[in-house]
Subunit: 348 residues, 2 copies
Amino acid sequence: MAVIHVPSPVDFHVHLRQGQLCSVVTPHVRKGGFKAAYVMPNLKPPITTTEQALKYKQELQNNDPETEYLMTLYLSPDLNPDEVRKAKRAGIMGVKSYPRGVTTNSDGGIESYEPYYPVFEAMQEVGLVLNLHGEVPSDDKTNACVLNAEEKFLPHLFSLHTRFPKLKIVLEHATSRAAVEAVKSLGSTVACTITPHHLAMTVDDWAGQGYHYCKPVAKYPDDREALRQVIRDGHPRFFLGSDSAPHPSLAKSTSTPSQSCAAGIYTSPILLPLTAHLLESFGALDKLANFVGEFGRRFYGLDMSTGNPIVTLREVEGHGVTIQESWKCGEDSLVPFMAGKRIRWEIV
Amino acid sequence: MAVIHVPSPVDFHVHLRQGQLCSVVTPHVRKGGFKAAYVMPNLKPPITTTEQALKYKQELQNNDPETEYLMTLYLSPDLNPDEVRKAKRAGIMGVKSYPRGVTTNSDGGIESYEPYYPVFEAMQEVGLVLNLHGEVPSDDKTNACVLNAEEKFLPHLFSLHTRFPKLKIVLEHATSRAAVEAVKSLGSTVACTITPHHLAMTVDDWAGQGYHYCKPVAKYPDDREALRQVIRDGHPRFFLGSDSAPHPSLAKSTSTPSQSCAAGIYTSPILLPLTAHLLESFGALDKLANFVGEFGRRFYGLDMSTGNPIVTLREVEGHGVTIQESWKCGEDSLVPFMAGKRIRWEIV
């Protein structure tokens, strides 16, 4: 029976939400095989100050004290160079930029990067990472829509990297061949996270299927192949960020004429076995430990040799193990990606 | 107050379903301003013989005797040259081809056209029209997915037209610039239907929104612009086929992890005012009468000067008229496109 040892995996992009939802999903990070999580700040209201981030971290620790939470701020006019330095001193690791209106709780997102150049300068100086949700808003006049929103964002990535070559930048949840090629072409300070669901799906999977709807949307088969190939290649600047984004099942499954389904796919509680299963499906199982741990830790400069023991996966005999259909959350439930489907790996 | 007179509009592509659903939606053709409907054969089981088509026509007449039903057969191995001639004698107008598995009830669809060449020969001879659902099935190996399924189908259209230059062919419900350009480039025996919803939507509109999910899916803004422009141009081989495709609201609004929403958008009961509203929105209101009647009748060689009086639309003062939220259908309901939205035209 095959076994894989994964040292100190880190989920470099996760949404742990607030309130009741937070209390359910935060322990699922560990359940999914991870003891460290890079936490997104798009709450209501967004986490824009060090003080808010530390308060939120305390809420997460109350929900599960055994996981290490790597905290971020939400890029907004509230942020200035002084606050950046304060954040660094408080152990905050990055700043997340959301273009306005492209995903869950992004109404306060930015429209132009130029006003933030002094902030980026300070981030570069102290070593905070800039995490980019790399999509432009849809615009009929420029043919921009959810399918090319990422590709049309790439000039911003090039421009930011040129202006701030020492600023560490992560293009989050890449979905397109164009994004993969862009990140590969840039310097050692630019990296990229990839989600498990974008390794599994194409546009066909979310057509008419709310549970598979997320932002950025999954693209063409050839785009998915580019994501798979860069993992097969073992490229050290591409690593796991689940973008696990729970919503109650009612919001995922149901649309009304005036309300679409919520965007986001939930993978936290099954993350490591799911990732192993998917990497195996396209011949990259030997890259698992690097993809889910080593590469990201190295890019972020994290030393997690203590407190994050090796996680062991074992191959399941026969037809595999069935992913739980849902988890209770108040009066609703959370349905994970591939609910009810079988995967070939489980945590020992 | 502005008024438009529309002589003998025909909906050249409509799904009138079976049983209870059929009894509800068939009278909606007339409610939507149309007294003639070109009826799709993708029932369960599909309409593959003249006898079935005539029986179905009787069911439609029982539901609304005042509408003229232009009947079609479903291309399948049951069809042969003799049956084609029999169909022609019985007044059947066309044969619809569905590639296998691309839309509602297309499991019996075709995989290759060559076996049907004798059938097409007979159709060309007697003057039956070939109606094409122009999409190839998705295939990861060729990067085929719902977004490029239509463009990848176009070589089949070129090939069929080359081999059967006198066969009248309609590429149904075009959604892409590539399809528009292809049809424009071909001879006078090739035409194209366009739906109202593809004039309104892009991919953004169906992302996470079951009520806007249909096949073919709406594409990029630039594709929508190509559809709008060819109508503005008054091109005589592009005309209305609503592809009105009702499903109970539960099937439209809800997905489960193992079941997607039903594909199809319901426009029959509001078709003429909706089309006027949309054409006006992109500066083509003066093309309405040709788009919804004259061009299609001319292509099909229909003389409908009798029995199909002029339909009159009037502009609604103020904020327009609200589209009904739904129609009752058994214990469920049918929700039309733009339910609850206001449009500027109504039937007198």
